[in-house]
Subunit: 187 residues, 2 copies
Amino acid sequence: MKKTALLIIDMQNDFVGDSAVLPVPGADCIITPIRSILNHFREKKLPVIHILRIHRPGGSDVEFFRREIFSRTPFAVAGTKGADVIDALAPIPGEHILAKTRMSGFLGTDLDLLLRSLEVEHVVVVGIQTPNCIRTTVFDAMAYGYDTILVSDAVAAATPEIHEANLRDMAAIGVSLIRTDECIQMI
Amino acid sequence: MKKTALLIIDMQNDFVGDSAVLPVPGADCIITPIRSILNHFREKKLPVIHILRIHRPGGSDVEFFRREIFSRTPFAVAGTKGADVIDALAPIPGEHILAKTRMSGFLGTDLDLLLRSLEVEHVVVVGIQTPNCIRTTVFDAMAYGYDTILVSDAVAAATPEIHEANLRDMAAIGVSLIRTDECIQMI
């Protein structure tokens, strides 16, 4: 049987919940679906990877187009509460945490090596936000040869239009789009 | 002054023109704008990089989600006329040709090293198609720190809706969207 890993992207205090300094619209609504999927992966003892944006204090590793906003509102700084996974989805022992400084979980990280080491062939992607960190990670996962499943009600974007347009483009390259209940049934 | 390079993506016989085996809708309409921009870069003696999809005969290096179509209709095979740049945009001596097997020009290639070697800080992106090879290359260019300019009437997608939705997402992360005449004026 082919092994499936869950990739939970950027569900961190600085982006989700009441204390978020850069709240992503819609992110609060996907906590419950992600929690259901996470519990299912835990029960099945399948790999869970919490992919997090983590920046150095001072922001020397921030994308050039986010430097200005970081200088005004530092976000996802290593060692701060804001960079932690939200309590509802907090990692437990045995789960993997992977830090990134860019949108894609594959860029400048060992995500591909980690997935190969875990003998993963399928990935289920959830988190925020659809056009950026989700889409770049999904396109890279497909490029690296991982059969990729996106849970459409467990990812969020600024507007429904942006969300839907991006789902359409991902479906067009062969990404499987399913809903939370289907994910729990089929994994 | 900061140096700007032109990245022309996938304008190959197998995808564009009457002999295309996998024609990209709208691609024929962007030949003239790209030709104008290419001529301008040649006059200014600025770097031009023709980024091409090139696959091994047999398709061992094709993305898993395109294997089936490749087995029916081989495309962009090394050494074939179909893999060549279309005549209207044919490279001239001094221009760079960069082969890729994935959507992004940066994935598994030396594009970042080449741009650094050329001391390029800005890239102008044109070619096909907007949601896939264009967008992944643009997002990676931004992630690698290149100030990225997309010429909106020199890229093409299957439908205007897909084209516009992708332009909006790219503008949202700070990509500059300009038209061909503006490109020629400002570069």
